[in-house]
Symmetry: C2
Subunit: 229 residues, 2 copies
Amino acid sequence: MRIIIVEPKNPGNLGAIARLMKNFGLKDLTVVNINRIPSEDLFRSMKGSEILSKCRMVSSLQDAIKGLDYVAGTSGVKSDSPKEVLRNYLEPKEFVRLTSEIKGKIGIVLGREDIGLVNEELGMCDFFVHIPADDEYPILNVSSAAAILFYEMFGGGKKKKIETISRRENDRLIEKFRQSLIENNYPKHRVQKTTLLFRRVISRAILSPYEYRILMGAIGCSHKDIIDI
Amino acid sequence: MRIIIVEPKNPGNLGAIARLMKNFGLKDLTVVNINRIPSEDLFRSMKGSEILSKCRMVSSLQDAIKGLDYVAGTSGVKSDSPKEVLRNYLEPKEFVRLTSEIKGKIGIVLGREDIGLVNEELGMCDFFVHIPADDEYPILNVSSAAAILFYEMFGGGKKKKIETISRRENDRLIEKFRQSLIENNYPKHRVQKTTLLFRRVISRAILSPYEYRILMGAIGCSHKDIIDI
């Protein structure tokens, strides 16, 4: 994956994007039409400074996309009309899904802070990616757009796996809760309903094995059940 | 939804976050422990400048969270150990799913650029949200983190609805393609396989009605079929 930035003007954005590349495991940076890297950007890039200092500088988008199999342009200006072929857009998630199936090398083009990518540049792109935002002001800062795109490409869509307790453990905890009600002389006619309420709450929370063990010790806590936290 | 920023130090971040709030339809901003808004931030906030100039300034997180029903802290420093209750984290998507079911007022707390939120502050939070990133350098700039969180809260997860053609139209286009092969003396023994290949390609692309009409005119194009683009 190659990240291409076209004519960054406001100091800071280039550095912020280099930092984001490091955050999300990207390495290959090409910058179009700058002469040198501003010190403000080197400062902002933090641990992404190596990516920034090793970036390739070229004089045109045409040069920047050489060697790529697919190129994706980005812009805050989209069109919802199907006739506007140039600005018919993919949302980040669709783009990630599509490109996950591509074997070749892909480039993402981020435009200027003020006018973004011009139509001629968008015309060189195979995909056009737009980030959905509020209609009143959908134009994101270029490094904010980069944050969202890189996050999605990194796999923002996939949930971390949570280790959870089994149905049997769930039942055991609920039974312990019921027993503790009885032992504590909770009104008999309310035991069943309160236990059901407890079951609903506990099930919704989806307990980890650790949380289960702690609660097993805490509910109706006879000392022998308490474990070290 | 209230956005709370604790002690922003590097000029620019506060402005970038105010702009992002405008981008994603958020309005309520509280800043902890600043005396005045730096001019650099007002410049960067662009159309979010009203949000910034109307922000509430308070002297502690305790004051900032008054009136909220739930508070979510954010940090790049997480723990994967279930025993680290304080830094056991939710990913942005899980957080959005959970809070979408909450009726009360929610606050999101963004920490300092250098040390983030201290443990005492995280302890005031009901949720702890962490953005998954590369293990080598998972610490995001605060405005990058805000970009990703606000995007997810805005509904980054929902796909735009695409108007697509029906199965009947799909078949009609494929049949037209097959006819055009025959009319153009394409080798007879390859017609069937090539048509199947075309079906696979076209089906994968999921055509819009507009694209369908254009292609119906373009394939085997007899003039009467061509429509205005």
